[in-house]
């Protein structure tokens, strides 16, 4: 039989967590479905994330391991912009196994795509050149680079920092020249972008956790036999725990390697969570995410 091609897109670069997950997924799928030729396209090579997501609905693209751009399609996914929502990966997996996931998946319905699973993406850390961040007070006055996200800017400003949106390509020299004091990203990025060369402190803040969204296009999925469809969705779901375990291990290994290059510290997570809690009622977040989604999330995670 002729090979059926499954092209999976991702905006994340080669060598990222997402790349490792997709390679694992490819292996698992091709083991169970020998006629399936899984092709991985990292780094937006088959279109910007916006175009890929739209293409899922048209059938021009088959599948995508997407990150933040899904907010445009499904505003409920902005729930992951809520600061200090998860302290560890176990909580993320609890969330993914709860009714909150169904509500999230429901948000993709009628958009031409199916949410198969939430995969890991790494917790974010804050690096800076002024002082170790342990309590919310330590954030005072720090100029922290953020992506161009209204929620992320509001979060850092609420905590007393001075959020400075800047494109990623400018961050290294910005830190080097002192235009900004710090930045926030997963530890793996702080490592691969060599921020430790121009930063003194890395605080394991877990301030935001954004998973990756494994999405299949409905036109492509509907063109498969029910058996293939079921198998793909099952493998995607089964791969999820593997990604979290792999992410946990890899993060630990990266931090171990970074320990010689930068001073690493833990933060007082509860204090930060308390300081950020007012944002859970802020219209900026509530209007974007929807009250129902926030309510379910708080209930699932036991946040009052």
């Amino acid at each position: 039989a002729q090979a059926q091609v499954l092209q999976i897109n991702s905006s994340l670069p080669e060598g990222s967590f997402a790349h490792a997950f997709l390679l694992e997924f490819q292996e698992r799928v091709e083991a169970e479905l020998p006629s399936m030729d899984v092709q991985i396209f990292m780094g937006n090579t088959l279109g910007s994330e916006e175009d890929v997501l739209q293409g899922l609905g048209f059938g021009t693209h088959h599948a995508s391991l997407s990150a933040s751009a899904v907010v445009q399609i499904n505003p409920r996914t902005a729930v992951f912009d809520l600061p200090y929502l998860f302290e560890n990966r176990d909580q993320v997996q609890d969330f993914a196994a709860s009714p909150a996931f169904d509500m999230l998946a429901e948000g993709f319905e009628g958009r031409g795509m199916v949410l198969a699973a939430l995969w890991d993406n790494g917790f974010r850390v804050i690096t800076n050149s002024v002082r170790p961040i342990v309590t919310p007070e330590d954030m005072n006055g720090l100029r922290i680079r953020t992506p161009t996200s209204r929620q992320r800017v509001a979060m850092f400003n609420t905590l007393g920092a001075n959020a400075t949106p800047l494109s990623f390509g400018e961050v290294y020299s910005g830190l080097d020249q002192g235009v900004i004091d710090g930045q926030e990203n997963p530890a793996q990025i702080a490592d691969s972008a060599r921020f430790y060369e121009v930063q003194d402190y890395m605080s394991l803040s877990n301030h935001v956790y954004l998973p990756t969204f494994m999405l299949f296009g409905e036109p492509w999925l509907n063109a498969q036999t029910p058996e293939v469809r079921e198998t793909l969705l099952r493998i995607a779901a089964e791969t999820a725990p593997w990604t979290f375990a792999w992410g946990d291990e890899t993060d630990a290994r990266i931090l171990e390697e970074l320990a010689d290059k930068i001073e690493i510290n833990e933060i007082d997570f509860d204090a930060f969570q308390a300081a950020a809690l007012p944002l859970y009622d802020d219209p900026l977040f509530v209007d974007a995410i929807g009250e129902d989604m926030i309510a379910v999330t708080r209930e699932v995670l036991g946040l009052e």
């Binding site: 739209q54 609905g57 048209f58 161009t148 400075t164 949106p165 494109s167």
Partner: protein, 173 residues
């Protein structure tokens, strides 16, 4: 027939004027927006949220409308040396073929670009409340203008109203 020709020429002039004004305004708007973004970041000390997204979308709009304009004024870059050495009859056929191919591509931009634009109905840019279709719509609009321009030229070449040499791309220089 003469009245039809007059009407076409009048519409053509109107279209060129509109496209010219559009191009100048867009270039000027980008100049102002980007300088304001710098001013906001360094002087007002609060970066504008639309700093990257809006200029990029305006540039994309300029791309497709401008492409139609340059098609009309023959200012697209191309390689004309080979066609120029052919005899005039062959040149005429080649140029007819070119208009058909370009109109075909314009038609694809119009049809599929139109469908794509419509699929963005109701969505706005991330950073500012402007409808996406305003920018995406430049693809079908530019495509439609390209179809019109190329078809008018096709007729003009066939009835001998223009010479092939007048329709070659801007050669190298």
């Amino acid at each position: 027939m003469n009245r039809l020709e007059g009407a076409i020429l009048w519409l053509d002039r109107l279209m060129c004027r509109a496209l010219d004004v559009f191009t100048i305004i867009v270039a000027g708007v980008l100049l102002v927006l980007l300088n304001y973004a710098v001013f906001a970041r360094f002087i007002l000390n609060s970066s504008v949220s639309w700093g990257e997204e809006l200029p990029a979308h305006i540039l994309a709009m300029l791309t497709f409308i401008g492409a139609a304009y340059l098609t009309r004024t023959n200012e697209h870059l191309g390689f004309d040396s080979f066609v120029r050495i052919l005899n005039l009859g062959v040149q005429r056929i080649v140029l007819c073929l070119n208009q058909i191919l370009m109109a075909g591509f314009g038609a694809m931009l119009f049809w599929y670009g139109g469908k794509a634009s419509l699929s963005f109905t109701g969505r706005t840019l991330i950073s500012v409340d402007l409808p996406m279709i305003l920018f995406r719509g430049a693809v079908p609009l530019g495509g439609a203008l390209i179809v019109l321009i190329c078809l008018v030229r096709l007729v003009a070449i066939i009835i001998g109203r223009v010479n092939p040499g007048e329709l070659l791309p801007e050669g190298d220089g």
